[in-house]
């Protein structure tokens, strides 16, 4: 696996590069309207056609990549950070507090993501950061759950017991034993989350939390273009395909045979 390891990062790197390139798409191209070229079909000049005010959909999809990556990266980072913190808390806690902590995590996993997101977005407005915080509530709980479960068996293993007997410091334990054992499965689960995060974002716009459809944003684009679903389906297709590609690419990084995502649906 290590030999072919770098290859699975290639697609993600490509997508990132595209997203970075998207930042250089000029404002005039992204926001430029042309009311004489409304709802034009796909052509060489604009491969995904133009929308109801004549904006180039392809340019908007490319320009929206950065934002989408930001939402995904922020959410995953927040989930990881929160989850690791919770798990650390668990390991540091006395026996009596441990079981309630796990139960709390179980509860948090179950909290409907959209509910939290609606409340957070209502409170501080809908932005990549606020959405990430909301979506990370359930995310960090499931990371913590996984880390606690796996960490327990690692700590009971003969190798760790021996290391402890020989006076290994906590830092040593984490670096040599816990980290290597825990990181792969935790990251694997995270890789599946990208698509879910973007769809939840899009669902929020549908429920009227107020995504700004004048920004190039995949979730908001799917929402905005849904009214043309039956007359100009390519409009929805562009951002949807982009979401799918990003979801797939993220999953590929952590699991080359991946297609599965768990957790709640943006219904």
């Amino acid at each position: 696996m290590p030999s072919a390891g770098y290859r699975r990062y290639l697609p993600l790197a490509l997508v990132c590069a595209l997203a970075v390139a998207g930042m250089w798409v000029s404002d005039a191209t992204v926001h430029g309207i042309d009311l004489d070229r409304r709802l034009a079909g796909p052509s060489l000049a604009s491969p995904l056609g133009t929308d109801a005010v004549g904006r180039d959909v392809f340019a908007r999809v490319v320009a929206g990549g950065g934002r989408a990556l930001a939402v995904v990266a922020l959410t995953l980072a927040a989930s990881l950070a929160g989850g690791v913190a919770l798990a650390t808390l668990w390991f540091a806690s006395p026996e009596a507090l441990r079981s309630p902590l796990v139960r709390l995590c179980d509860l948090a996993i179950g909290v409907p993501t959209l509910l939290v997101a609606l409340v957070v977005a209502g409170a501080v407005g809908l932005s990549p950061l606020s959405a990430a915080l909301a979506l990370a509530v359930g995310g960090s709980a499931s990371v913590a759950h996984l880390a606690i479960g796996l960490g327990r068996s690692v700590l009971r293993s003969p190798a760790v017991r021996a290391a402890r007997a020989m006076g290994g410091t906590p830092v040593h334990l984490v670096r040599r034993h816990l980290g290597p054992a825990l990181a792969p499965p935790i990251l694997l689960a995270q890789g599946y989350e990208a698509g879910r995060v973007l769809l939840a974002w899009s669902a929020l716009t549908f429920l009227g939390v107020g995504a700004d459809t004048s920004q190039p944003d995949w979730g908001a684009m799917v929402f905005e273009y849904r009214v043309h679903l039956f007359d100009a389906p390519w409009l929805v297709l562009g951002p949807s395909a982009a979401i799918l590609v990003l979801a797939f690419v993220c999953a590929q990084v952590t699991d080359p045979r991946a297609t599965v995502s768990m957790g709640d649906k943006p219904l």
């Binding site: 404002d27 926001h31 430029g32 309207i33 009311l35 109801a52 005010v53 904006r55 977005a121 209502g122 407005g125 809908l126 009227g208 939390v209 107020g210 995504a211 700004d212 459809t213 004048s214 920004q215 849904r226 009214v227 043309h228 039956f230 007359d231």
Partner: protein, 490 residues
């Protein structure tokens, strides 16, 4: 519970029969009464719109106040009026509408519904005869007709837990957030020959349009413009488009440093191409001012569009074009334009407004605010896109008094101009409609010069009707949707 409803469902499907002649006419819309008691929240407004409730006075199709259950009103003093009622009107159970019955329930409304105390404080009602009602406000009542045409003053009668009304239809059953079944009210002058009606709520307007296409609703009220081509192709569906009195406008926050300069505000006003906005929304009329064209006191000429003049004004104000961006003392001219999702048209116009301002060299940030009442109250915007019914009672004084007078409760632009205030004071002295229209015109002129607000357009809304409801003519708002002309065409 579930099992029982599943059984009921199976039975319903098994018994489903071909459409009966007296099948209710289905009206689909995005809102439905939140309850059946007008003393609570918005119920009064929705019930009037559903054709269930009436008021003593109402606003007719052309936006004029007229008596409904009342016959006439005379003023006793500043706070007191006498209202006489029409004879022979009945509630839907046949009980006559008397001054005493009205005094009793309106007193209850005023105690329980804060909205009923908004205009004249705690109003008291006293029956001075069978059909004579004395109305006294805590504060002055300039026009009792305007006051009693407010939604909170819907007329009803309590019978135990039931609430009875006087409108052309009576409530048969009500399911919260879903549907309201109506039967014709035999005691209403227009009640004979009306079909039963079912008002159904569709929170998503596109789903409503699909329901119309599928033949599931006979009248789909306010469907998105994007769905019209498909609807028009539908079998037996007619689309009727009509201008509404909700004006689209944009407040300019006059407390922001750049916008404190009237030249910048006027530049923005001149930079907006209304015709382009009309094209974007697929309908509507460029605004001539605060009022929709249907009103006799509305402006006659469309607001001008002149990008060159706008640029010159910005130059004059010291905002010079440097590298494509307007700057003054090194700082860029930057505006945050805010819209809200409850009026999707406003969000649709955002990119177009943005493009016009950007073309002028203004840096534009856009935002969509989920709770616009907070944004308006805090003033956390430079330019706030807004939809407003500017003459709900057919009176030109309503809008400028509440939105533009210095310190007014809804003065979102934070605009303070003694000149305008002095003009508006004229409304307090003048009751003749023509003279009031003149005052309105002069006030409008002043507002155009000071430009605290950019009037954008008078929108059109669209209804899709089936063959059964083909005779239906929509009125210019969502205030009266279910009306007697829903009588099926023969």
């Amino acid at each position: 519970m579930i099992r029982r409803s599943l059984l009921a469902a199976a039975a319903a499907i098994a018994l489903a029969s071909p459409a009966l002649a007296r099948d209710p006419l289905v009206v689909g819309q995005t809102f439905i009464a939140a309850g059946l008691d007008p003393a609570r929240g918005s119920a009064g407004w929705a019930l009037v719109s559903h054709g269930v409730a009436e008021k003593l006075f109402t606003v007719n199709q052309r936006g004029r106040l007229e008596p409904q259950l009342a016959e006439a009103a005379t003023r006793i003093d500043e706070r007191t009026w006498t209202v006489t009622l029409k004879a022979g009107r009945k509630f839907s159970d046949g009980t006559p509408v008397t001054a005493r019955a009205i005094a009793e329930t309106l007193a209850r409304t005023v105690t329980e519904n804060a909205a009923a105390r908004a205009s004249a404080g705690t109003v008291t009602f006293e029956a001075t005869g069978d059909l004579a009602l004395r109305v006294q406000g805590e504060r002055a009542i300039p026009s009792v007709a305007a006051l009693l045409a407010e939604w909170a003053f819907a007329i009803y009668r309590r019978d135990g837990d039931r609430t009875l009304y006087t409108g052309p239809w009576a409530v048969e059953s009500y399911e919260a957030d879903r549907r309201l079944k109506l039967v014709p009210n035999a005691h209403h002058p227009a009640g004979g020959g009306l079909p039963p009606v079912e008002v159904r709520r569709f929170p998503d307007a596109q789903a409503l349009a699909l329901a119309a296409q599928a033949g599931e609703v006979d009248l789909a009220f306010n469907v998105p413009a994007e769905t019209l081509p498909r609807l028009q192709r539908g079998d037996g569906i007619t689309v009727k488009s009509f201008p509404v009195s909700y004006q689209y406008m944009a407040w300019l926050n006059t407390t922001r440093p750049a916008l404190a300069d009237v030249r910048v505000r006027r530049a923005i006003d001149l930079a907006i191409d209304r015709a382009e906005l009309v094209k974007t929304l697929g309908g509507g009329m460029p605004a001539t001012g605060a009022y929709a064209p249907e009103f006799p006191f509305s402006g006659k000429a469309a607001r001008p569009f002149d990008a060159a003049r706008a640029a010159a004004l910005l130059d004059e104000a010291g905002w010079r074009l440097e590298g494509g961006v307007r700057r003054k003392d090194g700082a860029a001219l930057r505006l945050e334009v805010v819209a809200y999702p409850q009026r999707p048209d406003l969000v649709t116009m955002l990119p177009v407004v943005r493009a016009r301002l950007t073309a002028l060299g203004i840096e534009v940030a856009t935002r969509v605010s989920e709770n616009v009442s907070v944004t308006a109250k805090e003033g956390s915007f430079d330019m706030l896109m807004w939809a407003q019914h500017t003459a709900p009672a057919g009176d030109p004084a309503f809008f400028p008094n509440l939105f533009l007078r210095s310190g007014a409760a809804n003065n979102h632009a934070r605009f303070a101009d003694p000149g305008l205030d002095a003009l508006l004071d004229g409304f307090g002295r003048e009751s003749d409609a023509e003279r009031r229209a003149e005052i309105a015109a002069r006030a409008e002129q002043r507002v155009f010069e000071m430009a605290p607000v950019v009037y954008l357009l008078t929108p059109v809304w669209h209804v899709a009707v089936s063959r059964r409801a083909a005779a239906y003519t929509p009125w210019g708002s969502d205030y009266h949707i279910v009306r007697p002309d829903l009588r099926p065409a023969r």
